[in-house]
Subunit: 456 residues, 2 copies
C-alpha cells in the first residue's frame, strides 16, 4: 500500500466544495437534463416543511436552514467533477457543459436559525429557475434534517436538566463526522452548555469540556495515583469514580483533597444507581466539608432519566449526555419534504394519498396573546399580511446573501426566548394531546381547492 | 458578505486530513498530556466491542473497522492545528511539540469488513503505546458505529426483500454528509443493489439509480407530457404515478407505451395502499400486454412493511427505501465501547456496575457444525488456539498496513456467505429469544477472576 492510496482514503471522509454539486440524488440531475432539454427555465417555488410531528416532540427547533441557504451559493460543477458524472452514462455532453455554468441565481427565504417550528410550516422557501431550485433539494434536506433533529433533541435534554449545565458527550456514537461536528452547532442552539468534541468546539464556539476515561484509571497500578496525577495536572478537574468501587473511590477523592490539598472540582458517576450513588457521595463529601465539589453524572442518560433523577432530588450538578442525544434515539428522523408549489407563476400541488400540499409561496405568522405568550400560528399565502410576527425572512436574493452568516449564539438566544413564550405545557417532555395550534389561511385553502379543480 | 467568508462556511462541512487529530474528545488529549507528563509510554491493548444486542438485531454486520484502521495512519497534528488546540487553554507548549511528532506506530487486528458480529466480540483491537491507542478512541468509535449501524439495518431490509433489488433513497434524511456518503459503502456490504446518491455511488461503486420526483410532474401542465418527455429522454426509465390520481396515471403510462411506443421500464408507487395499488396496476399492465413493465414501490418503507407486502403477494419487483434505513430508525445507535484490557503486559479490567470487562487481548473463534452451518462463537485470550475460524486478523503492524484497503465488494460477498451459514432463524426479522451462542473461554473467565482478586 502506498501513501497516495491512503490519501484517497482520507479524501473519502471529505466533502470538498468541488463536490457539492454531486452531493445530490441522481433524479435531480436527470430531471435537470429534462428541464434543460425542454427549455423549461421558468421560475419555480419550492417549500421545505415536515408533515408529521416527530415522536415525542411538541416543537422542533429549525436549525441549519440559514446555513444551507448560504452554502448553496457555493454549488458548482467543475470540469473534473463533470467527468466523474459522465461515467454514470446518462448525461449528454452538451448538458454537462451547461452544468459547468451552474450557479444559484434565485431567492431564498428562511426562518432564522433556532426558530421553533411546527408541522406544515415552511422552514425555507426557494424561488429560482426550476433547474436551480430542483437541484438543491437533497443538499438542503440532508443539511436541515441533521441540525433540526439534533437541536430539537438537545432542547428537550436542556429543558429536563432545568438550568443545570449539560455537556455533549455524543461524538463517538453519532452518525459520522459531519453529524458530530455540525451537531455541536445544533447543540449550542438547543441549549447545551459544553461539548467534549474538540474540533466541534473550535468550529462552533461551544466550550470544550471533558473529564477522564476509565482507561486512565486502569492504566495506573493504583486508583489514587491516577486521581493525584490528574488533579495535579488539571486543578479543578472532574474525577471519574466508578472504575472499580464507586464509594471507595469517593473516599479516595476525599482523602486526597483533605490530606494533600488536591484541587478537585467534581466527581463523575457513570454507572449504577445514579440517584443512590449521588445521594451517598453528596453525604460523604458534605460530611468531609467538601460542599464545593460538584457531582456530574453520565452513562446512558436521556431527558426522561434526567427528569426522573431531579424529581427524585438527586443532588446532581451537571449532566454528560451522549448516545441518546447524539443519535436522537427516540426520534432520529424527520419527514422533511421539499415540494414544488408554484411554476411559471401558477400555483402547483400534488394530491397523493396522505401527502396533500398547499400551493403557492407562503408566509408563517406567529401570534401573541395579551400576556405576551404565543397563542397560535397561521400559514398564509406570501402576499397576505397579518398582525403577527412573520417567520420567513429573506436570506438570499438574486443569488447573493441579504445578510451575513447566521450567528449560532444569537440563534440560541432566539430559540430560548421563543421557548419561554410558549404555553407552559409545551415545555413538558410528554407529547401533548392537543398540539400547538397552526392553521392555514382561508385564502390558501381556497387556492388549494381552485388548483385541484383546475388539475388536468 | 465576502467570498472568503463563504469559503469558511464550506470548510465547515469538511473534515480535512489536517484536522483528523482534532476529531477527538477533549479527555483523550488531556489524558495524553497526563501520560506524557508521567512518562507512561508502555504498550496498551484496547478492545472495541458492544455489550447489548441492539433492538431488533439478531446480528450486526461489522463495518468500517478495517477502513478506520487504515485511516488512523493518517492522524497527525500539524503546527497550524496545534495553534488552534492551544486556544483551549489546557495544554503545555512542550506537550504540543510532542504531539507534533505524533503518528501511530502500533498494531491493529480487526474482523474483515462485513463479518457478522455479536455482543462482547471485539471488532477491532489496538496494541500501541498507551497515548497512541488512547487518542484513537473517538475516531474509531464514530467511524465504526456509523457503518456498522447502517450496514446492519440494510441487511435486514435486503433479507425482507427476498432477493428483489433494493435501492437506497435515504441520502436526504441521513445524519449529515459523511453518514450519507459512507452509508453507501455500508449499504453495499449490507446487500443493497443501488443508490440514488450520486457522489456515494461514484465513491463506493454501488450503481447509481433514480426515477423522478413529483415536482417534475407538477412543473408540467400535463402529466402525460411529463411522462412522455422523461420516457423519450431516458428509455427504460421509471415513471412516478402517484402525483394526482395513481390509477389514472397508470392508464396514461399504458396509453403512452401502447399508442406511442414509449419505452418504459417501470412505474413507481410512492403513497397510498401499496399492496392494493400494486395489484391493480399489475392487472392493468398485464391486461394491456405490458408484463415487462415492473413495479417499484417506495414511501416510508422498512423491512417489516416490505415483508408484509410480499407476504400479501403484492406484485412488487423492487423497493426504494429511504428514511427508515437512512437513520436506522428502530435502532439508530450501538453501545460500542473501546476499553483498555492490558497495560504494560498486565491484564486490566474495570468493574463498574453492569459494565464488566474481560481483561487481555482476545481472539474470536467461529465454529461450524457437521452440516457446514455456524453453531457458536467463543471469545478466548489471544494466545489460545481453537479448531474454529479466527475472526480477528492483523490489519496494521508497526504502524504500516499488512494488506491493502478493504474492498467493499469482497466485504459484501463475505457478509452474505456468512449470513447464509447461520441457522435459518437468524435471518428472521423478529428478535430471537435465544440469541446466537457466544461464550468466553474458561481461561478468560479465570483471568478475569484473578485480575479482580489483584485489584488494589
Amino acid at each position: 500500500m502506498r501513501a497516495d492510496s491512503w490519501g484517497q482514503l482520507v479524501t473519502e471522509l471529505i466533502l470538498s466544495d468541488d463536490e457539492l454539486g454531486l452531493f445530490t440524488d441522481l433524479y435531480e440531475l436527470t430531471m435537470l437534463q429534462a428541464y434543460w432539454a425542454e427549455s423549461m427555465h421558468a421560475s419555480a417555488v419550492f417549500s421545505l416543511f415536515f408533515r408529521k410531528p416527530p415522536t415525542n416532540r411538541n416543537f422542533m427547533l429549525a436549525c441549519g436552514q440559514e446555513h444551507v441557504a448560504h452554502l448553496v451559493l457555493q454549488v458548482r460543477f467543475p470540469r473534473q467533477q463533470l467527468d466523474r458524472l459522465a461515467t454514470v452514462g446518462m448525461f449528454q455532453d452538451e448538458f454537462l457543459r451547461w452544468l459547468e455554468g451552474f450557479r444559484f441565481t434565485g431567492e431564498i427565504l428562511a426562518m432564522p436559525e433556532g426558530t421553533p417550528v411546527f408541522p406544515h410550516e415552511p422552514l425555507l422557501e426557494v424561488r429560482a429557475p426550476v433547474a436551480e431550485a430542483q437541484l438543491l433539494e437533497t443538499l438542503i434536506m440532508n443539511h436541515v434534517t441533521t441540525e433540526t433533529v439534533l437541536a430539537s433533541k438537545a432542547a428537550r435534554v436542556a429543558l429536563a436538566a432545568d438550568e443545570r449545565p449539560v455537556m455533549d458527550f455524543g461524538m463517538r456514537r453519532m452518525h459520522g463526522a459531519d453529524a458530530a461536528l455540525r451537531g455541536v452547532r445544533a447543540y449550542r442552539v438547543g441549549g447545551i452548555g459544553a461539548t467534549s468534541n474538540v474540533l466541534g468546539s473550535l468550529r462552533h464556539g461551544l466550550p470544550a469540556s471533558g473529564t477522564m476515561a476509565h482507561s486512565f484509571i486502569q492504566a495506573h497500578p493504583d486508583e489514587t495515583d491516577a486521581f493525584r496525577t490528574y488533579g495535579q495536572l488539571y486543578p479543578g478537574t472532574t474525577l471519574l469514580v466508578d472504575t472499580y468501587d464507586t464509594l471507595a473511590a469517593v473516599d479516595k477523592v476525599i482523602a486526597l483533597v483533605r490530606d494533600e490539598g488536591l484541587e478537585i472540582g467534581a466527581i463523575r458517576l457513570d454507572s449504577g444507581d445514579l440517584r443512590e450513588f449521588s445521594l451517598t457521595a453528596r453525604e460523604r463529601l458534605d460530611a468531609a466539608g467538601l460542599r464545593d465539589i460538584k457531582i456530574v453524572v453520565s452513562g446512558g442518560l436521556d431527558e426522561w432519566i434526567i427528569q426522573e433523577l431531579l424529581d427524585g432530588d438527586a443532588p446532581i450538578d451537571s449532566f454528560g449526555v451522549g448516545t441518546e442525544m447524539g443519535a436522537s434515539v427516540d426520534s432520529p428522523s424527520l419527514d422533511l419534504a421539499y415540494k414544488l408549489t408554484e411554476y411559471d407563476g401558477k400555483p402547483r400541488l400534488k394530491n397523493a394519498p396522505g401527502k396533500q400540499l398547499h400551493p403557492g409561496p407562503k408566509q408563517v405568522w406567529r401570534f401573541t396573546d395579551i400576556n405576551g405568550r404565543y397563542s397560535h400560528d397561521e400559514i398564509t399565502g406570501r402576499a397576505e399580511t397579518r398582525d403577527g410576527e412573520p417567520l420567513l425572512e429573506p436570506v438570499i436574493r438574486e443569488g447573493a446573501p441579504v445578510r451575513g452568516e447566521p450567528d449560532t449564539g444569537e440563534a440560541k438566544d432566539r430559540a430560548w426566548a421563543a421557548i419561554a413564550r410558549f404555553p407552559e405545557r409545551m415545555r413538558e417532555l410528554e407529547q401533548l394531546e392537543t398540539p400547538y395550534p397552526v392553521r392555514f389561511s382561508d385564502a390558501l385553502e381556497q387556492l388549494r381547492q381552485d388548483t385541484i379543480r383546475n388539475l388536468g
